[in-house]
Amino acid sequence: MAGGRSAGSIAPYLLRRLLGFVLVLSVISLAVFTALATVPGDAAEALAGESASAEQIAAIRREFGGDVPLPERYAAFVAGLVTRGDLGRSLTSGLPVRDLLLQRLPATLALALSATLLALAIGTVAGAFAAAHAGGSVDMVVMGATGLGLAVPSYWMALLLVLLLSLRLRWLPVAGSGSVAHLVMPALTLALPTAAVVARLMRASLLEVAQTDYLRTAYSKGLGRGQVFRVHALPNSLVPVIAVLGVHLGHLLGGTFVVESIFAWPGLGRLAVQAVFERDLPVVMGAALLVALLNVTVNLVVDMAHALLDPRLGNQAL
């Protein structure tokens, strides 16, 4: 039954989702902690590398707790994280990991948000365009472009964009941050694969909606094409897009590692990659946890948006 749902039944649903959220984060944090925070003491020297000083080796030993068993160390880690927001200290700089992460977070959020908006804008328009000319050459061109968008590596796309727009045409700066011009290429590179997926989904969804009874009813009521599209076709065709959006935003977040590194964008992804090079595992762990948190949060928000938008689904979920 579309439409109504009682306000009182939202609460248990929210509670269930929040509990699931906490549970998922716990599992992820345990996995990441086990992977990255359990370097045995005698491997500390190997971890530090050949040119490490005695202080650095001692710092690693301290950081990784030596002989304390894993469950205890994990519990201590979670306690520290929850009460003080303590994520340890960087092995290379000695700075608190939390500070490093918070410093870089806004840049990644700005990039990810811009890329998402770009992807949605380009994808929905392209998909709608292709659906409107379904079966024609325009449709084939758009579908071919999306196929390419799914096969082209983002790092190659980035290089080509830099080659064309920065080096040849000199329209945009090569790398760095600080202005909107710096944001254009990273956001575009990050957005394109998601735009390709959104375009395909949008097209399929619109074509499906076009066959429905309620659309024919709308026309028969005398509504114009524009109105039918805006009020009936578009909202309904967006729902399946939103349903899978969470997964693709997760991939977008994964793409920040490469894109930020290429464009020297000062975000979490670049921090994580540099930390991997420097074998600075506390920073890698912190960045990984934060990215995972963002990912899980985005999925939760998108799922709830989907449940709210689709009354049919909303009733089942509630």
């Binding site: 998922v24 599992v27 992820i28 990441v32 992977a35 990255l36 196929g147 390419l148 799914l150 096969a151 082209v152 590596p153 983002s154 790092y155 190659w156 290089l159 080509l160 830099v162 080659l163 080096l167 694969p193 998601t194 997926v197 989904l201 399929a204 899978v244 997964v247 693709h248 997760g250 991939h251 977040l253 994964g254 793409g255 590692f257 490469v258 590194s261 994580a272 990659v273 930390a275 991997v276 090079f277 074998r279 595992l281 890698v284 990984a288 990215v291 995972a292 990912n295 899980v296 999925n299």
Partner: protein, 306 residues
Amino acid sequence: MIGELIRLPRSYILARSSAVRRSALSARHRVSPGLRAGALIVLCVVLVSIFPDQLAPYAPDQVMPSARLLEPSLAHPFGTDNLGRDLFSRIVYGARVAVRMALLSVGLSVLVGSVAGGLTGYYGGWLDFVVSRLMEVWLSLPGALVAIVIVARLGSSLDNLILALGIMGVPVFYRLVRATTLSARRACYVEAAETLGASDLRILRCHVLPNIASPLVVQTTLRLGIVLLTGGGLSFLGLGAQPPIPEWGALLASGRSAMDTAWWLAVFPGLAITVTVTGLNLLGDGLRDVLDPTMRGRPRGGRYAN
């Protein structure tokens, strides 16, 4: 004993039990141009990877100081890099690296994921519940993140990258095999086979496996492309194949600094990746249409998809 007497022919059970029955005649009509193109591309890449010595004019690490940063020409179809190495030869040898990386890592994912999915799907119980929840969490994480965490722990090398990519893909095949096993498990013909005394192993082999084959083949093909993209990305960053291994992503990275004057260094390795992944995607989609047209339209995962 009764089972021996009333043993139904395996072909009869299979014919009844296949989720999709397709005659050989109709299969031929569904071979699309995309499938042909994809198969051709993939075949070419595989052939190149098997016979690089015959195709490449130079050795991949052959340094020719007098031939630095040459434009593409007849002698050097893709030009040379800053050390004077022939890019075409490096890309040809890179095909072997790519094929090895893709096959080993996806093979690992398929093996672990399928066995886990098949077992938990078949036997169910609390183990199924726990493992499925874990796999869901695993699946929800960005693939690049999982791969980076593993490489951070183990160190940057091609072998560690292959391991990381393999681990990244396990939940995809787990979910696929488990779902197919579950639906096959509940089918009447399995109940009938059990009644006739068929062992668990026989049921798995004769009734569950044939139904898994089609989606598994399709997903494996698509997954090979994803692994190439992600693996190339990590190698590009320097976290995977180390120089002088001519991995295509690493080739892009090494050519980046000279890109301003030597555009070919930034173009051809990326082209190799794109063409190969396009071929795999076309092949995968085409196989899906041939093997099970009812699967068409199911949303495929994104580029870095788990």
